[in-house]
Symmetry: C2
Subunit: 262 residues, 2 copies
């Protein structure tokens, strides 16, 4: 893999992250997962807008370079047609301490992997081991603090599923561990508002902007009574087949219509 | 600085963290901050017990080596009398995905810095920007997901203070951004229970075990009506001087008694 690190393209094996990098020591940073298909990097403005918002919340300087060019260079260097790019921005190396006393030099890393095949319909559980803190600004940020989502996914795997639906601190549906969640009811699609703990996903925003869904608080019961359920992230749209062992209606026609409009 | 990485002592500048290390990409790991004073590494069993509990919660294998020896070697190599050691354990490098499909090789890093001077009494604010999710198992774990605490500390600095008191999702006192919190009332000390979101701190446990304090849920009002407030972490005990601009009683005698017993 060819990796872009602070302005330089390098072989992955040559890239060194400093052991004092605050991304490594404290999860002090942000990332974006960006799809590239057919030779084109997708939805760059939406990803960069979210990154900028995350920088404001974390008090990180937004990179002063052209990130679109950097994404494009990384993509081109890896000679892939369809890829998953990942942009990681951290506060950079610093001595001990929660808030750096001096000025730190941010770390900006872009990696590229081949786009995986579209996953099979999701077999989900509703996570019981942890919940999403909708009161934290981090719920609105794609930060490097992914352990709650990892714990939820771990539970899903332990329960013979492959994705977890995560509730917030009051038991309302927030998102899935690595995706936003939508239900379909009477031909209309609904997805939890960001205030319930949903990450403001780029694909989610595209669906809302296309008027293909509305925001609405969802209880776990709404998942049972829905006509269908699907997940989205920047890599695509994925139907849900099973929730907590119960079969969910297939909505192939709805999803085909949706994909055609995105 | 001489650093211990996966069994080898290296100069810090020679240490390379893999850009795909899950500690860096997802905050998927744990750490311990361990004090060494007078040539001796302190409270090792308590730190390693907490690390082991964290490993169980995260599904990380507990290292199969003698960590006490590794801490001692790192401390000795840096030729310090008083030091802050930090042990960081991550799930190691892995390709994309929330839960690694294959077996990953954990990263174990130990660093050492000179022990800083004891800080002045703390000028605190009660954080308003974020709160601690007492419902997540991560509240009981010293994980690499430190952004909520960083945001709280950032708020403190912005409000001309140097530490933040963090409430949980229902407005009950949990801890400080980088310490546990205790109040003194009528000669007795109280600290929030772990179920309220307090990190099970090693110094906190030592104080409870010495019967020098009891667990009790604390409301923000209890901070105002207390006879004194202090913070603890593995580096020591620190009195609180100011909370939200209001002066807090000095309790020098109480703290001197406490320090004498630890």
């Amino acid at each position: 893999m060819i990796v872009w690190l602070n302005g330089v393209l390098l072989k992955s094996a040559e890239v060194r992250i400093d052991p004092l990098d605050r991304g490594f020591t404290l999860g002090d940073g942000l990332f974006e997962t960006v799809a590239a298909r057919g030779g084109k990097v997708l939805r760059i403005p939406a990803h960069l807008a979210r990154l900028r918002q995350g920088c404001e919340i974390l008090g990180l300087p937004y990179p002063a370079i052209d990130l679109e060019v950097a994404l494009g260079e990384t993509f081109a260097a890896n000679k892939l047609t369809d890829a998953v790019l990942r942009l990681t921005l951290t506060r950079g190396p610093a001595p001990r301490g929660l808030w750096p006393s001096g000025k730190s030099e941010p770390t900006l890393l872009i990696t590229a992997e081949a786009m995986p095949a579209a996953p099979a319909p999701a077999r989900c559980v509703i996570a019981t081991v942890t919940c999403r803190n909708e009161h934290s600004p981090l719920a609105r940020v794609k930060s490097l603090n992914y352990l709650d989502n990892i714990l939820a996914r771990k539970e899903a795997v332990a329960r013979d599923a492959d994705e977890a639906i995560v509730l917030n601190t009051v038991g309302v549906v927030a998102e899935a561990a690595a995706a936003n969640i939508f239900i379909v009811k009477n031909g209309k699609a609904f997805t939890p508002p960001v205030s319930d703990g949903a990450l403001p996903g780029v694909m989610r925003a595209a669906i809302l902007e296309a008027n293909f869904a509305q925001e609405k608080s969802l209880k776990p019961e709404d998942l049972s009574t829905a006509n269908g359920v699907f997940l989205t992230n920047s890599l695509g749209v994925r139907p849900v087949e099973i929730i907590d062992g119960r079969q969910v209606n297939a909505i192939d026609g709805f999803i085909a219509d949706l994909k055609a409009k995105l």
